[in-house]
Symmetry: C2
DNA sequence: CTGAAAGCGCTTACAG
DNA sequence: CTGAAAGCGCTTACAG
């Protein structure tokens, strides 16, 4: 007869792949670990003044080590009080608008609340942000175009908070679910469209080369030229950032060339608007003197004249999907079992009025 | 000797103007009211199945009547776990971007989380939304360009949740704090600028006439004409909505007139972009053939060519202020004592390249 | 400044 | 399906 194992002895045991609901760490546990009484821990927690500084420090350390959470303070599990955190680097771009709209839609569909944070250049997942996330009892996180610090990933994993990366940056942790778009295909079809119109001097102005999406779009551009037997002129490949100013600078450099391009593929619609400005400043008409293709198909396109030919990436759907994915992980019992997913939604060329054959 | 009053008898009594911390309604109170035991109420709360439907209904009614809240479920009081709700009608406008950025800034400054909801045409404050707000333990609400239903106002007041109206609609409850801009002055200075350039046929295309801000801008326009001794031609006053399409329609109607305007004051930058499009479609150059002034000074302006002359309203500051105002009400003890405020931040004309003297 | 004791609000296990 | 009783996690009031 086998010796009674843990399960037979009545210990908590979980099905394969499903984590055991770890027994809650109670205030009494922490008190024991810190060598003080429960009331003392309670006082520290409630920021009462009457605790000796050393005692306080010891208790705080024990609290932290044990990963203590107040009763009723575990992330909400019922839809309707769930919170998803959406972290963007900045809020003031047409790109952010689409992402926000999609994320709101995804959250609303699940009855969850969407908490929006702008990182403003700080790396997402500072200690401050993490502790606030905990204080708010948020259940899931979606990070947009940014790499979480390893500490943040670890902490989120530890607390069972799902993390989804939207438009992931290059250096991805393969264990994290990602949602993106088929950037390479987009770059390919934008460039093929211009080649098809008869352009041979086709330039590209993309975003930061450290971003996967920038790289992929340029790779698609190169592939299209290669297929058409047009050699890549490295003078016609420019990197910058996704802002109008970035587009303007790139266009200025390109149009200053001895043999300037007749068409520019911009890495984003915002950049394309900068290309428009530079063309206008030089008295060049779009599309008669210069064809322009953008990327994103954000609302901005409807404000530009002429209407911009662009590669549509379904940002609203992408964001909505990312939020649902994150909430799925948060809602179910089998939170940790959700298979990491890497989704790329399809891009599609939308032809409007900013492209035409080159002047004879 | 006077009979012992409540205070003398030890009842909770609060200083004038500061509401008493009403004694918490406990589960036992509700049980008593419903004529059942505490365990039964607990089961209903936790959605256990083993409760008779009629009992369940009775308990739910009692719960509701008593305004019961689970322990630890009252809105957070320490900054860092506070949540502010921002409700916009839609997220996909340049206006919304600015408001969001400002609101995020205001919330982040207080360490609060910003929960963003789009009303999508539904009136803010449906029962669904209110109960979610409660479930999330949100501490304050900022409502953008919309009128809360009287029930929502009542419910928020009852639960001590501050409500601030940003860019308030006309029919305001004077008891609610509002944050807006000096729309009238903006309309005045936009129109004076055009008159100063020599224009006499100056038109206006504004937003929905039911919105206070639309009205005020047009009133400023009328005032400027009046002061300059130029009679108002009602044919030159158009109402629509704040979208590019609204601007385009308005411009089309105006340019179809027998004696068309030489300058158009648009009620928003988005509308102004629609005016640009209509002008372009008719082969009219801005500003040579048509001067255009916008309103808002949103990021969109930097994408338009030519750069748009506009009336800047400090949307970022307005939103940030509204959020702080709301959180102020939520954070302090004296929540209900915050004097209702009606703030209007200053607007300012920003001259760029879309305005010029009329053709001789 | 600390903790034993009492208390509070809620939940659980179980008898009816 | 219901509730008396026991229990749990935390807080409060107070003695030292």
């Amino acid at each position: 007869m086998p010796a009674p194992d843990d399960a037979a002895a009545g210990a908590v045991r979980s099905p394969v792949g499903v984590p055991a609901a770890r027994p809650r760490v109670t205030l009494a546990d922490v008190a024991r670990a810190a060598g003080v009484s429960s009331p003392t821990v309670s006082k520290v927690l409630n920021e009462r003044g009457d605790v000796a500084p050393e005692t306080r420090d010891r208790v705080l350390a024990a609290l932290d080590a044990a990963g203590y959470r107040r009763r009723g303070t575990t992330p909400a599990r019922r839809p309707g009080s769930l919170l998803v955190e959406l972290v963007l680097s900045d809020l003031d771009s047409p790109y952010a608008v689409e992402v926000l709209a999609g994320a709101e839609e995804g959250a609303a569909a699940s009855g969850a609340g969407l908490v929006v944070t702008a990182a403003h250049g700080r790396r997402a997942g500072g200690g401050r942000w993490l502790s606030r996330l905990r204080a708010r009892r948020s259940s899931a996180v979606v990070l947009v175009i940014s790499d979480p610090g390893p500490d943040a990933v670890e902490e989120l994993r530890r607390t069972g908070t799902p993390l989804v990366l939207l438009d992931p940056v290059g250096t991805r942790d393969p264990g994290l679910p990602t949602v993106g778009a088929t950037n390479w295909n987009g770059g390919l079809s934008a460039t093929e469209h211009l080649l098809g119109l008869g352009h041979r001097r086709v330039a590209v102005v993309s975003g930061d080369p450290s971003l996967a999406c920038s790289q992929e779009r340029v790779d698609g551009y190169r592939a299209a030229l290669g297929r058409a037997g047009v050699p890549v002129d490295e003078d016609l490949v420019r990197w910058g950032d996704f802002t109008p100013e970035g587009g303007r600078r790139g266009a200025a450099a390109l149009l200053d060339l001895a043999d300037p391009p007749t068409a520019i593929f911009a890495g984003s619609d915002s950049q394309a608007s900068g290309v428009y400005q530079e063309a206008r400043a030089r008295g060049l008409a779009v599309p008669e003197d210069l064809s322009v293709v953008g990327f994103d198909d954000v609302a901005l396109c409807q404000y530009l004249s002429p209407p911009l030919t662009t590669v549509r990436q379904p940002l609203v759907d992408m964001a909505s999907h990312a939020v649902r994915l994150a909430l799925e992980g948060a809602g179910g019992e089998a939170a940790d079992v959700v298979t990491p997913q890497h989704v790329q939604l399809a891009t599609r060329l939308v032809v409007r009025e900013s492209t035409a054959p080159p002047r004879a």
